[in-house]
Symmetry: C2
Subunit: 145 residues, 2 copies
DNA sequence: GTTTTTGCAAACCATTTGCAGGGTC
DNA sequence: GACCCTGCAAATGGTTTGCAAAAAC
């Protein structure tokens, strides 16, 4: 969960124009707690008559991902989703039941990767860690969807 | 790189019928070193007149993934690929230039995840770590593709 | 002989693109 | 006023599906 203005400001700061659509999307994304898909945003945009089209949603998500404000997730199901993020680099802990997303630090991962690089001779430049589990609230809940 | 018979045997052991197409696919996958896409297999199947159709390739990849003999990779580009695997659980180190794939142990990751679970209260049930970098051979090579 | 598997081609679904009009700086 | 951005709807590209024929058990 981030502040909508952080998102819209980012467009401006990166030299993109601040349009009504981008503001609307920033607000839409800001109010999301867990992950969301492009389709989710499109549906909500239509329901609330925000007048943001499909193409614009995909294009904006691209930009935000480029700027590091959201991150694309590859769900175990094969689908794609996005999550808002704030920290420079972190990883995502995704609730497999409700989709709530939490940033995690994964202290120690850097050391692991360094070790992997040494052992294999690879020059490591990127990595991705996604963790899935049941959040406390969903554990408390009886079970079921 | 795995043995083709390991793959074809797996079909039989899991109660699937051992067809010529599945044998052919097992061989195709076994000779792959790095990751490969469904399309790669389709192209090679056609070139070598193996008579394995698109649908069968996707269906077989599903089965093999289900059985844990191959794993689906989500490349940074957004595309999907598969890699053959043998260890019970491991992670993949993928060369961003040639696609060669190496299994890595990531010793210590379990501890990190346990820690994450403790700190967040999540019941962690799955995770995925993918590491991308330049393999020794590609580092040695001038550069270019 | 029964049940699973296959191929084909059409269906699908998410994502991308071209282009003309509209909005931002 | 110039250039960026948008919507639309069509194109795209990878993946799935329905069904009748073929193969495995």
């Amino acid at each position: 969960m981030v502040d909508a203005s952080v998102l819209s400001d980012a467009f401006a700061e990166a030299g993109y124009r601040l349009t009504a659509q981008r503001r609307a999307l920033a607000a839409l994304i800001a109010r999301r707690d867990g992950h969301f898909t492009a389709e989710d945003l499109l549906v909500e945009s239509r329901r609330r008559r925000l007048g943001v089209g499909r193409a614009t949603i995909f294009r904006s998500l691209d930009v935000l991902a480029e700027l590091g404000l959201i991150e694309r997730l590859d769900l175990p199901s094969g689908g794609h989703a996005f999550v808002a993020c704030r920290a420079a680099h972190h990883h995502h802990l995704v609730c497999s039941s409700c989709g709530r997303t939490t940033d995690i630090a994964a202290t120690g991962l850097a050391a692991i990767l360094r070790d992997v690089g040494t052992r294999t001779g690879y020059r490591i430049d990127a990595h991705r860690l996604e963790v899935f589990g049941l959040c406390p609230a969903c554990q408390a809940r009886p079970r079921g969807g």
